[in-house]
């Protein structure tokens, strides 16, 4: 049913992503699909990496480790955003096209009142992506 599952990851908040990571791995096994882990980083140094190149290496390592641990086929793709606070959704939407994914599995926070003003990333992707989107709640 699905061939390529895109799973956005934030390497700084992996603890909050456990459910969505497990979910994408389970679906990948069920359908024999490949998982693409997409990470958005900045051109400026962040808490994770000095440079985008370094970030890409970490993301690759993360994908490899996930593939080994969960027995799935996995790859990684890094996307650079100048101002992730505001353009992470656009970066992820671009990535859905670039990776050719037919399903996005991503975590989302619990909705609160602020979502009326700033929609959550998951909500925006579900609204605009051309492929199927599964938003996983809870941690």
């Amino acid at each position: 049913m699905f061939k390529k599952i895109m799973t956005p990851v934030d390497l700084a908040h992996l603890k909050d992503l456990q459910r969505s990571l497990k979910c994408s791995a389970d679906l990948a096994k069920l359908y024999g699909a490949e998982v693409v882990f997409v990470g958005v980083t900045t051109p400026t140094p962040s808490s994770l990496a000095h440079t985008p190149e370094e970030y890409a290496k970490k993301l690759d390592a993360f994908a490899e480790e996930q593939a080994g641990a969960l027995g799935i086929k996995a790859s990684a793709q890094m996307v650079i955003g100048h101002d992730p606070t505001t353009d992470v959704d656009d970066a992820l939407l671009r990535a859905t096209r670039d990776t050719g994914a037919d399903l996005v599995v991503m975590a989302s926070h619990m909705p609160n009142v602020l979502d009326y003003i700033w929609p959550s990333n998951g909500g925006k992707i579900a609204e605009h992506a051309k492929c199927s989107v599964l938003v996983v709640r809870g941690t």
């Binding site: 390497l11 992996l14 900045t42 400026t44 140094p45 994770l48 101002d83 606070t85 505001t86 353009d87």
Partner: protein
């Protein structure tokens, strides 16, 4: 599953740039919390201290306004007249330093590592650095300064062509006209942009190539080492936040007064605090939308729109006032600038202290106090350029644009004053009485379509404020988040709003003038900071692979 601590650690970097080894991790001192639905990720203690210090200073200016006005009214001229030589000498050093970097082999170093490619096109990049750094000044001083230096301040002792009784002294006209443009260009061309370039280059180099967080303190790593992550760094960053917020807030207050003066002059809109508060609220509101849309969707778009409107206004004035005369002014002004820049920038043994202390030293202090903000913003959008490209684009091209702008607006205004001294509105507003906010509108009044162009002028003044305000909020947010550029949205909303509130409080309570003097006073310590940065850049570039 990966161990979280493993992922968080910074491994040995690879690749063709000289990363500085440090145990500091970006965001390690940050407090991450939630207040109600608002997520926060702020640096401890920079965020809290700068917020409290700002509130304390505003309270001081509001509670004892007379004392504050007295103290700062004394402080500003005291600084510019005592340390004039120091400001002039330092600015000359910055220009020479930049020019040397262009021709030296270090010019080949690429910001962001050897293989980095530029994030922004030249036009987008240029529009942003220009709109953040200078736009508003061009609107305010484009007419005022050339006319004033031609007729009143007598730089280098070149006598005024306007006699006491308002008639023209023909013998003085040519030299004064040349000097008016040269003396203005001196304040807007190489020197200010060299000041911005030094700060921007230091930050870009230590952030993109050395892997340190994008805050002012990072540039001091070669000097203080690991201590920059402690109180030394906290103080440097807090000072930068302080200068930036007050610089923006006072400018916002004065900008609202200018726009109001223009609206009164053209449309008869009442000139009072209520209108000005509404203007500040509107400017802050647009800036807020811009920061919420982010760097690419907001700041860049507005900057580009601004550039287009400014260009149209420039072309209009150029052709309406006579392109041939004005292009002649541009060439003559450029020649005069190149010839006079050496005597004008001589820090010692000057007789024209009115010009040198009242204008030059004041400008240098003002540019320098704005440099943490503008420099950091330029740094943020200039990854992927080589040092040579960077300095050429930050130093040479903006200088030429400023020269052209001054030649067009100043040249047209000088023409009006000299051809019809009795009927010139510019002469009335600049020479006979001193009304800086009205000088631009007075010049436009004598050209065709004055109602339309003056309205465009007011819009430009307002939008230039928005582009300074939104980029300033991004910069303050980054510094107070310890160099994180992806802090939660509510924080930048906070700073943008706070800036507007400080401006409103000072506008209503009085004290804008006192705080502007305060901002300029930060120019003196920052001059030392910039001199240290030159050395840090040199050390940093030496270690880079070329």
């Amino acid at each position: 599953m990966a161990d979280d601590t493993d992922i968080q650690g910074i491994p040995q970097p690879e690749g063709p740039s000289d990363i500085i080894e440090t145990d500091y991790q970006i965001g390690q001192d940050n407090i991450t919390t939630k207040i109600g639905p608002f997520g926060l990720d702020i640096h401890n203690p920079v965020f809290v201290i700068s917020g409290l210090v700002i509130i304390a200073f505003v309270a001081y200016a509001l509670v004892v306004p007379a004392q504050a006005a007295n103290f700062f009214g004394w402080l500003r001229p005291a600084l510019t007249s005592t340390f004039d030589w120091f400001f002039l000498l330092s600015a000359n050093i910055f220009v020479l330093f930049c020019l040397v970097l262009i021709v030296s082999p270090y010019g080949a170093v690429r910001l962001g590592g050897k293989d980095a490619s530029p994030d922004y096109s030249y036009t987008g990049w240029f529009a942003m650095l220009f709109a953040a750094g200078m736009g508003i000044g061009l609107m305010f001083f484009g007419v005022l300064e050339p006319v004033y230096h031609m007729a009143v301040s007598e730089p280098l002792g070149v006598p005024s062509p306007i006699a006491e009784d308002g008639t023209i002294i023909e013998a003085n006209v040519e030299a004064a006209r040349r000097m008016g443009l040269a003396a203005t260009s001196y304040h807007w061309a190489l020197h200010p942009w060299a000041i911005y370039a030094v700060v921007a280059l230091a930050l870009a180099l230590f952030s993109y190539n050395k892997g340190l967080p994008l805050t002012i303190r990072s540039a001091f790593y070669p000097i203080f080492g690991e201590r920059v992550w402690g109180w030394t760094g906290h103080i440097i960053d807090t000072l930068a936040v302080f200068a930036t917020l007050f610089g923006l807030a006072t400018s916002l207050g004065f900008g609202a007064q200018q726009a109001n003066a223009g609206l009164e002059y053209i449309y008869g809109v009442p000139n009072n605090v209520t209108v000005q508060v509404i203007l500040i609220a509107a400017i802050t509101g647009v800036a807020l939308i811009s920061v919420l849309r982010g760097l690419d969707g907001g700041v860049k778009v507005l900057s580009e729109i601004n550039m287009v409107i400014a260009l149209l206004l420039l072309l209009f004035v150029l052709f309406a006032a006579g392109a041939v005369t004005i292009l002649g002014d541009f060439v003559a002004g450029l020649g005069a600038y190149l010839k006079e820049v050496v005597p004008l920038s001589n820090p010692f043994g000057r007789e024209d202290t009115g010009y040198m202390q009242g204008w030059t030293a004041f400008y240098w202090a003002w540019w320098i106090s704005w440099s943490p903000f503008v420099g950091m913003f330029i740094a943020r959008v200039s990854r992927g350029r080589t040092v040579r490209e960077f300095i050429t684009c930050v130093l040479i091209i903006p200088s030429l644009v400023c020269l052209l702008w001054m030649a067009v607006f100043g040249g047209a205004a000088i023409d009006q004053v000299l051809s019809d001294p009795a009927g010139s509105a510019v002469k009335a507003q600049v020479i006979d009485s001193y009304n800086p906010p009205l000088s631009l509108f007075a010049m436009l009044e004598s050209l065709p379509l004055a109602a339309i162009t003056s309205t465009i002028g007011i819009v430009l003044v307002i939008v230039f404020f928005v582009t300074s305000s939104d980029s300033g909020s991004l910069v303050i947010d980054t510094i107070t988040a310890g160099g994180k550029v992806d802090a939660p949205v509510p924080q930048r909303v906070f700073w943008c709003t706070f800036e507007g509130l400080v401006a409103v409080a000072l506008l209503i309570g009085g004290g804008l003038g006192a705080l502007q003097a305060m901002v300029i006073s930060t120019g003196l310590p920052f001059t030392l900071v910039l001199l240290a940065m030159c050395w840090a850049i040199f050390k940093g570039l030496q270690a880079e692979p070329r």
